[in-house]
């Protein structure tokens, strides 16, 4: 078996897999996958307005620790949350290499600090498994389920409507 045949075979395999995915497209969810090292998370694309790089974030004093600061996104001031603190993960500091996912539902919009954006993928809801009962730290209401790949799929609606993350302006 020479090198060309190998390459051809690998390519054929790839194409056949895409076919299967395209067949089930109607029932699938489009999910943006991101990393909160060491875990992989996902959020449905319908809640995501935009992904962008972290630029000139201004910390706001007097806010809870999970509020990293505010950022100017094309003339719009958006607050940025650090989910690691919210999910009691190990904080490793924020740099300009971190990416921001702007999430939005109705009038609620804020950014989430991620370590990296992995990309978009299709998730079939019937393949999701319930979050494990011993999942400590993360409030179970934020989690929609866990994909067979081990991606924790966040519940965007709960996350965006949660009162705990709204800072009181009194």
């Amino acid at each position: 078996m020479n090198l060309d045949q190998k390459i051809l075979r690998a390519r054929a395999k790839e194409i056949s897999r895409h076919k299967i995915k395209q067949d089930d497209m109607a029932e699938s969810l489009s999910v943006v996958e991101f990393l909160l090292i060491p875990e992989r998370y996902g959020i449905e694309s319908k809640y995501v307005s935009e992904v962008l790089s972290l630029r000139e974030m201004t910390p706001i004093p007097g806010t809870p620790a999970f509020v990293a600061g505010v950022m100017n996104v094309r003339g719009k001031i958006v607050s940025i949350l650090n989910l690691k603190l919210l999910f009691n993960l190990k904080e490793r500091g924020i740099t300009e290499l971190n990416k921001i996912i702007l999430v939005r539902m109705d009038r609620m919009e804020f950014g989430i600090v991620t370590d990296a954006i992995a990309g978009t993928l299709k998730v079939y809801p019937n393949t999701l498994s319930a979050p494990p009962a011993n999942l400590h730290g993360i409030n179970a209401e934020y989690i929609q389920g866990i994909t067979p790949d081990g991606i924790i799929l966040l519940n965007g609606e709960n996350l965006l409507t949660n009162k705990t993350i709204i800072v009181n302006q009194k």
Binding site: S30, V32, S45, K46, E50, V51, K99, I117, G119, T120
Partner: protein, 497 residues
Amino acid sequence: MKSTFNISTKAKLFLGFGLIIVAIILLSILSFVSFNNINNAQTGMFKSMQMERNLTEFKADENRQMLTMLQITISKDPTRTNELKKQLVDKAALIAISLSLIENELQSYPVQLQKFNEIKVQLKRYIENREKRLTLNDAGKIEESINMAREIEGPLYEKIRMMILEIEKDFSDIIDAEKAKTESLTQSADITIIIGSMGIILLSIILIFWMIRMLRKISVEIKNGVNILGTSASEILTTVTEVSTGATETATAISETTTTIEEIRQTALMASQKAQSVLENAQKASDAAENGKESVQQTIEGMNRINQQMNLIADSIVKLSEKNRSIGEITSTVNDIADQSNLLAVNAAIEAAKAGEQGRGFAVVAQEIRNLADQSKQATAQVREILNDIQKAVNLAVMSTEQGSKAVENGSILARKSGEMIEILSDTVTEAAQSVIQISTSSQQQMAGMDQIVPAMENIKQASEQNVIGTKQTQTAAHNLSELGQNLKIIIEKFNV
């Protein structure tokens, strides 16, 4: 004796015998003197006696003259008278001679001479008287003559006789004195001779004892000497034997030495040859050292060139590093762009998903863009890795160049040192060459010396052979000496003093 008087035996003997001879001579002189004295005394006595007899004879003559005169006076016969007269005159002449003789002899007796002179005066008167009587007789006056005889002649004669008797008496006394003197002299001479003889005998006895003692001493000393001679002879014999064996050993040693000398000669020859070859080698080494010096110089120059090259390399590496950095900046920019592209692709995908069925084609495009962004990211990652590798390599190269620079510097120093070493080596080699020349000359001298030693050894050999013969002769001589000592011992035993 030897310790007290340091006189030789000969002198002692001379002294001893000389003493005796002197004593004998002294005794002889003494005896001679004594006998001479005695003789003188006896001669004097004899003379006195002669004188006495002469005087007696003279007295008798006068008496006879008187008698003849009487006969003349008495006789009647003229012939007879003439005969008597003639007799008287003859006698008178004889008496005159004898008188002069007596007078002569009386010269040494002055007292008696005086007396005699008186006698002579009286005799003259007497003779005159007699002449007178003769004339009277011739005249025939006999009576008158007789009277004259009776009155004058008689007393005169008597007087003369008395005077002669007196002188005779004197001489008799002299004789007695001389006799006594002679006797005393004889006695003293006897005593002197006896004492002298006794002294000589005593001296001789002492001398004999002394000589015996001396001889005994000499013989004892000779005996000791003979004993020493015997032991010495035996010692000489043993020594000579040792010397003989030693001479034999010497002979063997000499032959060994001769062979050794030959070996040494060979060795010296070899040394000379070796020295020659060493000299050549030294020359070669010196040339090599010269070449080495040049090489070292070239090495130093090469090192300097390498150093320059190294400096160039270092500069190039620094530039390379800078370029690398700018590449890194570019790649990071590319990476940023890829990142942004990725985000854009994600955003596009999200928008496509939101668009639903219409956005599906866009989603594929977005996916492709994303893939491209990923690829460019991977490429930039690879570039970065490569750049990192390059940077590492550059760092290594920098370190290496630094080390190389240091190494070059060290090499330079070492080369310089080796140059100095080579110079020292060259000097040493030159010195060694000079030494080798000296060695060569000295080994040649050694060879010459060996050539001289060989005949010398031959001479020594001959001398040692002669030595052996000589020692053999000495051995026999020592034997003879030993025998001589033995004989001397026997002789001394024989002449035991």
